[in-house]
Amino acid sequence: MFEGLKKKVEEMRANRPSPEAVKQAISEGQIWKSIFRHGYPDTPRNRIMAVLSNVFLHLHPVKARHSGVKMSYTWCMGGLSFFLFLNLTVTGVLLMFYYRPTAEYAYYDIVALREAVPLGIMRELHRWGAHAMVIAVWLHMFRVFMTGSYKPPREFNWVIGVVLLVLTLLLSFTGYLLPWDQLAMWAITVGTNMARATPFLGFEGPGASMLQVGGVKLVTGGSDIHFALLGGHFVSEATLLRFYVLHCVFIPLTAATLMAVHFWRVRKDGGISGPL
């Protein structure tokens, strides 16, 4: 009964394929092909295909200046800023599962992250990542300036970059409030107090008292830009919610959109800059 089977097995053993043939079979097989559309990228064609056919890699051109891919030239700070942004998005989403932006819970949710929540370390990853991103963005800008890479045709991308810098700082700033501890509240208090002094728009700003209609002041402590920012006269629960929404929805979406433009412009403006 088993004789036939035995024979068959022996036969298969005698004809077993070499490792190379297995590799070949896999990388030329239908599944591999359907996913990657090309073979292992060790030939020029496959390398081109690797970049072209991959949704993540197609940010890149197929080929780049030899001088531009050097670490000592780019410092990789733009890339790291993006990586940190991604990292912050992922950890931030995880944190949103645990965090409730209300005066009642916000602080103790953070305590819980420190004390009890499994992998509460994501809060550290998020906070330190944010600090690192601020520094990375500065250094990226520093590098771009030092290599004169804002010069034509890249002027507008530099402008976008400046906006992204501001957004990065705002992201960090709005996030600073969320732990709802003394450090957070007072840093935001100090940081937002200046809004009261915005010329014309803040009630303690120059010119605000000139905005009157029929003797009624238009800009008061309850109707100025500071109030709009905080949702009240002081940092309070309304501020927490405002900053939460800004931090989690509004600014990241804006930044992501501008980043797409930024990257796209890098490609369209001739890739990583180099001497002409």
Partner: protein, 361 residues
Amino acid sequence: MHFLIHFINALFNPVTYFSASVIGFGAMIHYREKWTEPQFALRILIGVLAVLGLSMFNDHFREISTKPDNVPIFLMVFSVGFFTWLSFRQAVVNDRRLAQGQPPVEKETSDKKVYVWPDLVYVEFIATIVAGVVLMVWSLALHAPLEQAATPAWTPNPSKAPWYFLGLQEMLVYYDPWLAGVVFPSLIIVGLMAIPYIDKNPKGAGYYTFNERKLAIVPFLFGFLILWVTLIFLGTFLRGPGWNFFGPFEDWDPHKVVVLNNINLSEYFWVKFLGMGLPPNPLLRELPGFSLLAFYFIGLPPLLTKKSNFLMGLLERLGVARYAVLMFLALSMAALPIKMVLRWAFNLKYIVSIPEVFFNI
């Protein structure tokens, strides 16, 4: 030892700190050939680390510098230092080549193209991993700070803004919030955006150089390194309770008392100089201040341009509009150090002071 600590603490006051950083900045520009030598740089690094290590023996310094939220400042200081060195190093090398008529290093290979896979992708991937490792180690080693639950019932002393805004908070010492907190930051953003449109210098695109772009690099670096980074450092480590200045090894005593007897320009002019009372009309009272400002922003640029061949050349190269914007931005930037000096030298509080409408400069 005790004496040394006292000496260092005494040395760290706003005047010496700021003057020293400006002088240091000048020296950095001037002696770039020297300190960009790797050997020399290594020695500086070792020296800095040694001083830092020794300082850690001081309880107060250790307490302040190991606060979790202050660690990024060290990261910033060291990375900015390193990358400044790196860029200057490459700039110096390129400048030497340019002086000898050779193209910059980048030019040699810029015409060649390499496949993005694997060269760039691989490098990016490794950089990502390394950054991930650094972030994880950092997160494992240091807990994110968490203080007491928020309450407006008591104010921590000092109350500080997030560290990246400490430069602005430092400006608040010299300017009112509407300037330091609103106008200057806006000018910084606008100024940064304006750079590519003002800088008409066609040279130095895509490679490191200093000699070809002196005019662009010096003000930019002055703004970034002096008015931003060192002020953050100052705000973090040297500003204590009551926003008073403390030496690096000095205890932050909340009861420290500091002389504060600053006087407005109008008082200088009307009371001290003319020996009469302040005019009741605020506009008249502040006339000297307004005149001074008008002179600074409107009178000074043409005067300087006339006197200086260099500026004249610049005007010709840039055209009036660009030149005017440039001058305005440059003078605005210079306003901070100028006000600092006026404060230290003459205890000048405000140049223009109309508190009735919150208009103080």
